[in-house]
Symmetry: C2
Subunit: 728 residues, 2 copies
């Protein structure tokens, strides 16, 4: 399949029919805004409030244009225009002739243009203005009848900046007359999970009379399947079996074994004309009832049980630790395999085993899923609906049908993919969708038709799942995180936040020096979400920081304090969710990454992938096995009775050998052992709750102290919590 | 379409291949048990425990056989074997040749047998034993991978008696070569609800070149649509419009206007060859959010809103009052249009506007839906799943796909049909299905595909909907109905029961005289569900009756007391659910009717259709407008402070004129007015809560007293409640 890359240029116009006045060089994949900024030397969108200079671009038509000579084609060859994604509504025009129209960025384009070729050709991709519901206010509600991700219409951590353009791989391809259009591999594991019935499904053009040669090898390069034969029609289905399967596991539960499928198509004379490679991971996925959730409400009238949120992989219940993944760039065309690789390597380092790909953002490119397959990271995939009441009109439902089919067929093949979800917070008051909403019934029906063995939930949260809270303390909502979290009872915490500022070094890269300190609304701090982003003074929450630490004397002090709250707050939620196992089965913070530099945000990584202190804290809280303290509050006073409950948390599939736990209070150079406890062997995936410790706080050296939990001779299981202290 | 009725005989055999030793006359439609009992003079199944003598029949093969000469057929004519329903798995064999096999009683059969005819013919319908999951205990779990209704496997008000046989209209039909197979009419109302785009879809055989003539007339016989033309292929779609629509309303909200569709097919020479008639009712159905349900849980973490249970017809919110409809006969073949007519006439008399057709029972015959269309009774239709964890195996899902398609296509055309529901109590602990269950996702997808504008719920109860309680008092569950019901907060009460005994006269018809009094377990009382039916001493609940009245001296006394509890208990729930409007939108008791005579049951009608006193009490509680009392308890003592809250309940679409309400206590011949209150005009569909009345109970004449609420000069709005009294 020789690919011919095109040399693209780009111009904008106000009317569809009127050609651009000027063309500038275009990068494909990319975004029109990026190309325009480079050509016209706009200041970077991520500095100060420069993004406002980009806003007009979403309302223009943009024409991509490339010139190319007709390639030499044999009688057996055809030329195709192929694109994995064009954002969002577009025409394709060759030599002035309209060839194709599509609404939807997730459905690939594949056009045979051979019969339209001249000696010298001009191909245009005419991209329409970003979709907006007429009359809607200038926010995400403009996106409530489109499959374009809502986030770019403005979010509490995303500026209003709506990308358009060619966002994924796009080229010309020379293909044989006989060629493959789609390859799908499906399998069914036996009850023992050691063998699979496997099915190869191919459709294409002019395949009748060609030969196929299909092999599957394991990752030690040993063949486990060889099938060959003649193709009778344009569709081919091959049934086979694989024995002695090595299963794919999330990385913290075993090896993420992948098999390699190679399909060769040979023409009638035996020459190789096409070859398709893919990877297969064998695993069984179920969403089952959480333990304890079978208990009925005690009294009549009785309503229903909470829906299942316990993920089971290969028959084993998995406690899911992870995060909400958002778009790693404002412009999806900028995202590369390396973008994903850096972020996903960090996700493994964070001891995460599941990422929820949030419905406000794009469905990621192929490289994301390929890397998750390899790294053993499970993926929960939302469809592109978020926080809106999506329309039930035939036009929108038609595009959603098309886009969801494309998404399902692409994503379902990956071992990493474990849950479909209709979208984000669709059953909450701010969205107002319901189980009756046709868009969601459509998605459920599509998933049932195309991927029936995969769990599907309408939205998150469903009944029993919690979203929030998103601040360290809120006196109207149960007080401090240390107080409300142990009282909470949810099957899954699918979104919880804890805001923290970016580092001083980072802040200086996008906030003008004169605005740096003290942070104020109306400055670049606000443009970068430190103020008026969500409820209260989010996401900097200066009054919460001041509540604990008093007024900060410098930017350095403020950042250190805010980051400490974020780190300790997140540890509290992750570890408490783990203590609530097995009723609770999932802890995913909001959010993992961010698409541009925020001044303060709930993210663990600053754009593009710089860990905040909270990242390392969460990484420790998510270790498969650790010593953990349940703490009743953050701030303590001399002479007060300090209490704490030491636990050993074990989410791993292995038992933990018995031993000795030591709990110490550390302040400066002084240490006080407050518990010295022997514990027995701990079974796999089981926690141990220690005794309640009570200790009258003496006069300490410093205004902070650490609670340190150690397991003797196993330093890697130790944990430390920083708390505040003041003298009486 | 001339129909030729066949003269059927029937015999049983233990092996499929071995023919019956003996044939007996068979009634079609009917059931093998009924025919056998008549032929072999078995005692009636409904007396004592005679049903046990019928049980072996479910495990035999039964062959229906009919002999018929070949009818005179012109070259243009074909002979069909046509059946609306055969229960449950069967072969059709003509002159020894196997023609057809089907599993599923809801999918009609239509076989062209012309080419297999001889001069003299023998047609067999070979019915298999009732389906049972191998190894399951002898209860409803035997039915957890079949589309056969679970009720006949035994229920707390239904004996173990599993019908099999030809249960709906079955005959031979002479049809033209050119004939219709299916006619479907769909419409979409405009926003003003006064005009419709209407679509006729026909498919058939050899229709190409025929002519069609389609007219629609209103119920004053005025034509509102005439379309005609030539049919080009075997499928025909005609689009048209109807203006000045008169809407179909539930009977308590307006006229249930129906239109008549007449479709004529004429052959190429203009002769009428087929005619199809149907009725159309124009209405828009939605299930929308209950008022007040948009309030979020107050604090984080937040879960989802309760799902919508507010039915909206033609843009108007309707408070649904009704009942759970069960199979009116054990043998569905016994059910006739008259069976339905009697019961549905009573349902209108009960002031019900909605019947929930419960998933443990059959989906009713066409006559049921036709009568509900005419009478303005709305229908909630469960699919045939109830209280089991239905399997996810391919065989069951395949039958469910077929059966649900047949059910949807048949039922969706009726104006009366307003809700699809996956089945009964599938998300409760005793069933254990979930939103992930493939059978339910299949049903949701089927309804989305075939009837997308109709609400679909997975099961009842969904979140926020209540089922139960089913007894007058239960100290472990909130005490007396007067106490728990006002504290309850549900969007819908979709099942609540209140048991009462049958009348003495009825009891004598099926309980042997020597067992009549006192009622005891182990007698016909137990066989007819008075004891050990459900929890506790249900459904006679003698200890509850005795708690209030002391030991009963006679059967007459016991029956009167039990029936009083049933009547007053039901009134309390219906009226209290109405007071909880608009958050609450539905009150449906368990159950309306019953399939055989029960000694005690929650039903309002004794089999086949005899009202208990509770029927009349409920009818009064469901009047569109009435005076109603919220009472704190049932039993009072002299000198106690009696309290009561008088209300006016108005569910009607009309306002209620202001006036005067009088509340009296009546005991024997003495009356005491305890409130005399003027009230203002009351808007449509709005309740009025009066003041709390407090009154010290004097010495009364009798051990009961009535609370009587009157609206001056509007006697039809009066209500009366009977309470117990004892002297100090």
């Amino acid at each position: 399949m020789p690919k011919l890359n095109l040399d693209w240029h780009l111009g904008h116009h106000q009317n569809k029919a009127q050609p651009p006045a000027k063309f500038i060089p275009a990068k494909v994949p990319g975004a029109v805004q990026f190309d325009y900024a480079r050509a016209e030397k706009l200041p970077p969108y991520w500095y100060g409030d420069n993004f406002k200079q980009y806003e007009w671009m979403e309302d223009a038509f943009w024409t991509y244009r490339a010139l190319f000579p007709k390639p030499d084609l044999t009688a057996e060859q055809r030329l195709f225009f192929v694109s994995k994604g064009i954002d969002y509504e577009f025409d394709i025009i060759l030599n002035g002739k309209h060839l194709f129209y599509q609404e939807g960025m997730f459905t690939p384009v594949c056009l045979d243009i051979t019969d339209e070729l001249r000696q010298n050709n001009e191909i245009d991709v005419l991209v329409y203005p970003a979709p907006k519901k007429p009359g809607a206010p200038r926010d995400r509600t403009q996106a409530d009848q489109t499959c374009k991700p809502a986030v770019s219409y403005g979010w509490d951590w995303h500026p209003r900046l709506v990308p358009v353009g060619i966002w994924d791989e796009t080229s010309l391809e020379i293909r044989n007359r006989s060629h493959i259009q789609n390859v799908m591999i499906e399998y069914e594991l036996n009850d023992e999970l050691d063998a699979a019935d496997i099915k190869l499904m191919v459709d294409g053009k002019n395949l009748s009379g060609c030969f196929y040669n299909w092999t599957v090898t394991n990752d030690k390069n040993n063949p486990v399947l060889r099938e060959k034969g003649t193709i009778a029609a344009d569709e081919l289905t091959v049934h086979s079996k694989i024995q002695n399967i090595e299963l794919w596991w999330p990385h913290d539960h075993g090896r993420s074994a992948l098999y390699y499928s190679n399909l060769k198509i040979l023409n009638r004379t035996g020459e190789l004309i096409e070859e398709k490679n893919s990877k297969i991971g064998f695993r069984r996925v179920k969403l089952v009832k959480n333990e304890g959730a079978r208990d009925e409400p005690a009294s009549f009238p009785k309503t229903r049980l909470v829906p299942p949120m316990q993920l089971e992989i290969n028959g084993r219940k998995i406690f899911c630790k992870g995060s909400n993944w958002v778009n790693p760039e404002i412009f999806p065309g900028q995202i590369t395999r390396d973008t994903y690789k850096t972020l996903l390597t960090r996700a493994v380092e964070a001891n995460f085993n599941l990422l929820r790909c949030w419905g406000g953002a794009i469905v990621n490119k192929d490289a994301f899923f390929e890397l998750c397959d390899e790294k053993g990271l499970m993926v929960w995939q939302d469809f592109p609906l978020a926080c809106n009441e999506y329309a039930a009109n035939p036009k929108y439902l038609g595009v959603l049908q098309q886009e969801s089919e494309s998404i399902i067929k692409r994503v379902k093949q990956h071992a990493c993919h474990v849950i479909w979800c209709g979208g984000n917070e669709l059953f909450n008051s701010w969205s107002g969708m319901t189980d009756q909403s046709l868009a969601l019934r459509l998605l459920n029906a599509q998933c049932y038709r195309l991927d029936p063995q995969k769990p599907f939930i309408y939205t998150s949260p469903v009944m029993g799942v919690g979203h929030g809270h998103y601040v360290f303390r809120d006196d109207k909502n149960g007080g401090e995180v240390f107080q409300w979290m142990p009282k909470s009872r949810h099957t899954a915490y699918a979104e919880f936040g804890m805001p923290g500022p970016a580092s001083v070094e980072e802040l200086k890269t996008f906030i003008p020096p004169e605005e740096l300190f003290p942070p104020k609304p109306g400055t670049a701090w606000e443009a970068h979400h430190a103020f008026n982003a969500w409820e209260g003074n989010t996401w900097l929450t200066p009054e919460i920081v001041e509540h604990y630490f008093g007024p900060a004397a410098s930017l350095e002090e403020l950042v250190e304090q805010g980051q400490l709250l974020q780190a300790e707050g997140y540890k509290c939620i992750y570890e408490e969710a783990r203590r609530q196992k097995p009723y609770c089965s999932m802890a995913l913070n909001w959010c993992y990454n961010e698409p541009w530099p925020t001044a303060a945000n709930n993210s663990l990584l600053n754009w593009p992938a710089k860990p905040k202190p909270a990242f390392y804290a969460v990484s420790k809280a998510c270790r498969p096995v650790l010593a953990s303290a349940r703490l009743p509050k953050f701030s303590w006073v001399e002479g007060e009775k300090f209490t704490c409950e030491p636990w050993i948390l074990n989410d791993s599939p292995e038992p933990v050998a018995g031993g000795k736990m030591i709990v110490k209070l550390v302040s400066g150079k002084t240490e006080q052992v407050i518990l010295n406890m022997d514990f027995d062997d701990l079974p796999a995936d089981t926690n141990l709750a220690g005794p309640q410790i009570s200790y009258v706080l003496p006069r300490l050296e410093q205004n902070r102290f650490q609670v340190v939990l150690e397991i003797k001779d196993r330093q890697e299981l130790s944990s430390s919590y920083t708390l505040l202290y003041r003298k009486k």
